[in-house]
């Protein structure tokens, strides 16, 4: 696999006083972020557990309820996040190559796609509300087992809602980083923060990769 190397001056990078060298600092930051992502897996995990238990209990109703979700918006959102991940990966690369303008642009681009995701989500939630699919807010279910259907939608809103909160936080982080990048904070080897933020953003993307089929494509359509 072709990998380019680029000499970066290490001496000017900022080593915090508890670390011996920049390598130790970067490795520690990466390990810390991966451990944090493991905690996030378990945080979402409680909801994945609820989904699993009730899907096995009420499979038919879940299939019916899932079909009422807007799979076009859901699918589009998946593509939006995947492309945003591509931009983020390039942003990390730009930070290592000391490309200030490119980095700022890519960070803003990723944040923009995040906003597109949130906008589509907003449109979709509104549509769900109009279609009487929001639990306790005018919920109406024509078929059998309305309780179980309401349970499905509760889980749908909880999981996508929690995910949306994470996307929002991510957008906020990206905007702050874009500002700092414009101010040359990430030059001269000080690129680790961008990589760490990238790990978070990719994780948010991965969660959605599971949410899309599990919520929108429960059974065949």
């Amino acid at each position: 696999m072709p990998i380019l190397t680029w000499p970066v001056s290490e001496e000017s990078a900022l080593v915090h006083e508890q670390f011996d060298d920049i390598g130790q600092q970067r490795e520690a930051a990466k390990l810390g972020m991966w451990i944090f992502l493991a905690t996030e897996v378990l945080f979402f995990g409680g909801l994945f557990l609820s989904y699993t238990v009730y899907r096995f209990a009420y499979g038919h109703v879940f299939v019916e309820a899932s079909r009422k979700l807007d799979v076009v918006i859901g699918g589009a959102n998946t593509a939006v996040l995947l492309i945003s991940s591509l931009l983020m990966a390039f942003a990390v690369r730009a930070s290592k190559l000391d490309q200030r303008r490119m980095l700022t642009g890519l960070l803003l681009g990723t944040a923009l796609l995040g906003c597109v995701f949130m906008s589509l989500k907003g449109v979709e939630y509104h549509k769900d509300y109009v279609d009487h699919l929001v639990p306790r807010m005018g919920f109406k279910w024509e078929g059998a087992d309305p309780g179980n259907a309401e349970l499905f939608y509760w889980i749908y809103f909880a999981m996508t809602g929690l995910h949306a909160i994470h996307v929002t936080v991510g957008i906020g982080i990206l905007l702050v980083l874009a500002l700092l990048a414009w101010r040359k904070t990430f030059s001269n080897g000080n690129h680790n923060t961008v990589e760490i933020a990238g790990l978070y953003w990719h994780f948010v993307d991965i969660v959605w990769c599971f949410l899309f089929p599990l919520l929108y494509l429960v059974g065949h359509r």
Binding site: G32, A38, L47, Y54, A158
Partner: protein, 552 residues
């Protein structure tokens, strides 16, 4: 026979002029510190406040239980008292105690580092802890919560009229403090060990803290989502635990105990780590079976995640799942037992010094063994059916938490007090308090085993008159236990001004933290980072034949 202090006074009897406590003083210097040692002290003061409040709740409960009638407080108030006691003791005292106080202080020094991996996150974790505590105290002041520390549904989601959401929010927030601490410790231990300090040269306290951190990091997020989901259901009126929708209230228990069982290992593993340090130092002997003790710590951390259903044997959980959880619960007792065997074997033919920390460590071994064994009785499905939700369970976990964990915390506090403050606590008072605590503890909780076996249920403030005698004994014991805890508070404060100067290594202990002055400088090691070339615990009972640590 030369005493340790005689050696000290002859060689290094003065406090270092500049150290981490006086390098920058003032409120801002403390509230904005990133020094792991100061953060440990901040945590110490904070958990002390919560311990006192929770103890007052316990005292009120024990006063109520002096008589069979519920005449001291109302039903509702009693429910709020045991909830306050449980919530504060578990999340705001036991879980942070050794990790956030002793762990924060000692871990970087023990591995030869200047600080933890993420010092600013460390400070943030303390602020988050205080914020969570503030929310919880708000809930208490405004009338409290009566669901029990376990927040079972559907009472917590639907029927309770108390400040469930605020208290759950307080616990939710405090959980993030735990996660950050665990993350910080894991990264520190992986990435910042001194040159030559390989994994199998680490002190066992580090192994225990690493295992604890794994649990902190993997279990706490599940508690967080569980409490959040419970609160949403309470606010919204419908949710995943709601039978009206086809939901199952028992799902809450699965999610809650998936965290809360490993949580008890978060509470006890650090104590075991401290005991390993104390037993070796005060037997002047390398620990027996170092590898087994280290592996046992990791085994407890992993196996502890597989047993949560033993809290749910009578909840309507499938009896087949119950059998699986029962067998796994038996398995998790094995590594704990291995540790007890290894500590005992370390004592054998060692040169025992009955210092205050050692008294606490020996107390731990005995009381933890009783607590652990009764855990096996509870893990037996058929027995648990009878004693579930009785005082037998209460006695079991108090033997482990108070007889085990709190004694280990006291032992560790006494052991590292000279390092933290540069001064020795008064040894006679220390030994006295340790023995009062041991006596008071047993008088408080042994009768509760009998009460539970005889059928007295927990969380009731009125009981049949035939149970009164044991309840009176228990309350009497609690008063004595209270004195046992009050004495150290007094003499530790006294020692700050009037204690004898300790010197770098009053216990003649091995371990990198004893290679620095007491109190240590801000960055722990003055000149160069220490280099480690040998296994830990290179004690020799023969060489130390002249030593008398217990007379300091």
């Amino acid at each position: 026979m030369k005493t340790a202090t005689e050696i000290d006074i002859q060689t290094e009897g003065e406090m270092p002029r500049e150290h981490y406590l006086n390098v920058k003083t003032g409120v801002k210097a403390w509230l904005l510190t990133t020094d792991h040692k100061r953060i440990g002290i901040l945590y110490l003061w904070t958990i002390l406040v919560f311990f006192l409040i929770a103890s007052v709740a316990a005292a009120m409960m024990r006063i109520e239980l002096l008589t069979p009638q519920g005449d001291f407080v109302t039903n509702e108030t009693y429910n709020k008292l045991f909830t306050i006691h449980g919530v504060l003791m578990v999340w705001f005292f036991l879980i942070p105690s050794i990790p956030a106080v002793l762990g924060n202080f000692v871990i970087p020094m023990m591995i030869g580092a200047r600080d933890v991996a993420f010092p600013k996150l460390n400070l943030l974790s303390w602020y988050i802890f205080v914020a969570g505590g503030a929310l919880t105290l708000w809930a208490i002041i405004h009338g409290g919560v009566d669901t029990g520390w376990t927040f079972y549904t559907p009472y917590s989601t639907t029927y309770a009229n108390s400040h469930v959401i605020t208290m759950a929010a307080g616990v939710f927030v405090a959980g993030f403090s735990s996660i950050i601490t665990g993350l910080n410790f894991m990264t520190t231990i992986h990435k910042m060990r001194a040159p030559g300090l390989t994994w199998f040269r680490l002190p066992l306290f580090i192994w225990s803290m690493y295992a604890t951190s794994v649990i902190l990091v993997l279990a706490t997020p599940v508690l967080a989502i569980t409490l959040a989901v419970m609160c949403v259901e309470r606010i919204w009126g419908v949710g995943i635990f709601d039978p009206k929708l086809g939901g199952d209230p028992i799902l809450f228990q699965h999610m809650f105990w998936f965290y809360s069982h490993p949580a008890v290992y978060i509470m006890i593993l650090p104590g075991m780590g401290v005991v390993s340090e104390l037993i070796t130092c005060f037997s002047r002997k390398r620990i027996f079976g170092y590898g087994f003790v280290a592996a046992a710590s990791m085994a407890i951390a992993v196996l502890g995640f597989l047993v949560w259903g033993h809290h749910m044997f009578v909840s309507s959980q499938s009896v087949y799942a119950g059998m699986v959880f029962s067998i796994l619960s038996f398995l998790v007792a094995i590594p704990s037992a291995i540790k007890v065997f290894n500590w005992t074997a370390t004592l054998h033919k060692g040169s025992i010094h009955f210092t205050t920390p050692m008294l606490y460590a020996l107390g731990f071994i005995g009381l933890f063994t009783i607590g652990g064994m009764t855990g096996l009785f509870l893990a037996t499905l058929a027995v648990d059916v009878h004693v579930h939700d009785s005082y037998f369970v209460i006695a079991h976990f108090h033997y482990i938490m108070v007889g085990g964990m709190v004694m280990a915390f006291m032992g560790g506090l006494h052991y590292w007090w000279p390092k933290i403050t540069g001064r020795l606590y008064p040894e006679f008072a220390g030994k006295l308090a340790a023995m009062i605590t041991f006596a008071g503890f047993n008088l408080t909780f042994f009768p509760q085993f009998i009460l539970g076996y005889l059928g007295m249920p927990r969380r009731y403030h009125a009981y049949p008159p035939e149970f009164q005698m044991f309840n009176v004994l228990s309350t009497a014991g609690a008063s004595i236990l209270g004195i046992g805890y009050l004495l150290p508070l007094i003499y530790f404060l006294w020692s700050l001004k009037c204690g004898r100067v300790a010197g770098p290594n009053p216990w003649r202990a091995t371990g990198l933290e004893w290679q620095t002055p007491s109190p240590p400088p801000k960055h722990n090691f003055e000149e160069k980072t220490p280099v480690v070339t040998e296994k830990p615990y290179s004690y020799s009972a023969e060489e130390d034949a002249d030593l008398n640590l217990a007379s300091i």
